[in-house]
Amino acid sequence: MKKFNISQFLILIFLITFVIFPLGRMLLMVKWANFGTLIASSSFKEALINSLLVTSIATIIAILIAYILAFTLNRTNIKHRAVLKLLLTIPMLIPSISHGLGLINLFGTNGLISKGLGFNIIGMPGIIIGSILYSFPIAFLMFDDGFKYIDNNLYDTAHVLGLNKWQTFKTVTFTYLKKPFLSAVFATFTMIFTDYGVPLAVGGKFITLPVFLYKEVIGLLDFSKGTMIGLFLLIPALISFLFDTFFKDYAHNNLKSKDYVIKENKLRDNVLKILTYTLITFVFILLGSFIYYAFINSPVLDHSFSLKHFDYILANNVGKYLFNSLLIALLVSILGTIIAYFCAYETARVKGKFSRLLHILAIVSLAIPGIVLGLSFTTSFKSTFLHNTFTILIIVNIIHFFASPYLMAYNALQKINPNFEMVAKTCNISLFKIIKDVIIPNTKITIREMFSYFFVNSMITISAVTFLYNTKTMPLALLINNYEGNLMLGEAAIISLIILIINIILKLGIYLINRYESRKDAYEYNI
């Protein structure tokens, strides 16, 4: 079908305008002559080495934790799996800077825990722990998903062939987990490498690359230098993205696989159960510190109960900022889901000459750190009507978070019977109708996941929006930076909690809807 495909074209225009154009424009404004000076400067070298060091260590530990958790939830007889999974993903629901603040609350020089014990984690240890905290849930989800696609018949085969545990792991488990494993490694590395929330809060004088970029842009207003540093932040992300695009993943071709029979092993179960619950407890202690700080008068002077922090934020328009965040998050979720879904529909089912290009453009946003994206939008759109509007915040968030929901939709749509469109054609049913009545209902769960991803991330993001907001549109999360800078830890804690609660409500809502629906229609899982 070589007909001109208008929806493909429109989505293409959208992605080119808001991904390629701003980046290109920003790159053109760079003073490349200074590049040599930059990479020779000792502060740059220090920041780069620091970043590589801390990111590598944090990634290794986070991946290990994530794998152990996924293993625990998929291969042991632990109870309440769904609840544990939910609890383990709670760290994803607050901004990364909140993790940093929480760590200071607990382990700073005057921290609740560390004060008595006489140590603190400011500097490299703090960055490592904070980074692990917000990244392990994401890696965990990738592994958890990976376990689902292993063809469990192969375990029986391995057993019959007499392979021992290690050999079985190598030939069966790891083969299927290879792609999720490598994806998780790249994704985690990129996430930690490009984050500035945690190092800013807890890094002390240990400077990492994103903080270095932030200081160059904010401190010296040197956008050119900031962009050049941003290029280095792009590198792991680009590698990650190239890997995802070209590495063949045959695990996803497995549509039906029989259930894995979990063997009895009380010792293994108990050890892993303790580890899992310990981790969850730690997360809750962190959240608890927020609650503590929200209700005490002052962390150093006077630990008496006080509601003054609540009074303060109420007197300072917290409602308005909350409204802004909700408005942005809702519009990003609705519009983002629609655009990502139809983009995936074009590339997964319609194909055509632009679909490869569309696919790459859709995923390339994975490769762009938020702070770089925000910078590029500022320089490219400041003289347009988009300037200082909610619209630009919405668009930048959609682009920033586009890749994952797009891939979710892409994978789901690929799995759906390829013949539905042909049935529609031969029965004289319009394409729109068949999408509405058949395709969408059969991808409902994926659509909800996409919505949830856009929403939660819009609520917690600070990087891309930091250059684009103004008084009218400022989202709630940016208040945390403000309060932290003024040592208003109680207020910062309250804002973190508000964001957390809203995200929990959303995730709980979607979880309940999914459960209700799965009881109603069992067809969802039997396409």
Binding site: N417, N419, F420, M422, V423, K425, T426, C427, N428, I429, K433, D437, V438, P441, N442, D521, A522, Y523, N526, I527
Partner: protein, 253 residues
Amino acid sequence: MVSLEVKHLSKTYKKKLVLNDLNFTVNKGEFLSILGPSGCGKTTLLKILIGIEKSDQGQIIKDNTDITNFDAANRGMGIVFQNYALFPNMNVLENVMYALKIKMKNKDKAKEESLKILKMVKMDQELKKYPHELSGGQQQRVAIARTLVLNPDIILFDEPMSALDADNRLTLRKELKALQTKFNTTMIYITHDQEEAFSLSDRVIVMNEGVIEQIDTPNKIFNNPKNAYVKNFVTRHLIEKVESIEKCTGIDL
């Protein structure tokens, strides 16, 4: 009476000649099989006949009308796919009613018609069941009902039984034949299974690498294979059958 006429149909795909100057007719009410191995072009032929793909050369004439450039929706043909492609989120009745409801713009009438057809395919006791709750054979019946309800002149089948086990296949072959006799619909049936083609069809087209080797009744093909290829194709299956009987019984036939 000729229902469908295919003239000089050719198609090249990625520099390979997939269909090479095909010529044949289909009679009204006939059960015609297109038999050949994978890759011989039969699926491409099916897609061109139904209007999802366009040929590079040639004509398709149905009931004296040149439908070569007609839309798939306007050819008066229905199709049953290998995996049936029933809508998983709709039950049996809803699946059958769906297209008819849109065409008739009247839900009650569509329901009435659908119930009639479903009774004829003996699926009227399973109206509320969902596709994943049906057996392969039941799904096929619903898929056929879904096309029948739109009253097509010709129904095309794309290897609908290749996913079923031997027992089911035999039962369904009988049912399909019975349905065809009842509705007297022209059926074009794509398959690689010689036994299936021979047992169901009035005539069989033996295809190989985009070319029609022979068009004839099963009997004539069996007794008078036109060339070595046809001969091999036919007898090979027979030999396999004999060998397996020999093995089982120990008798040397």
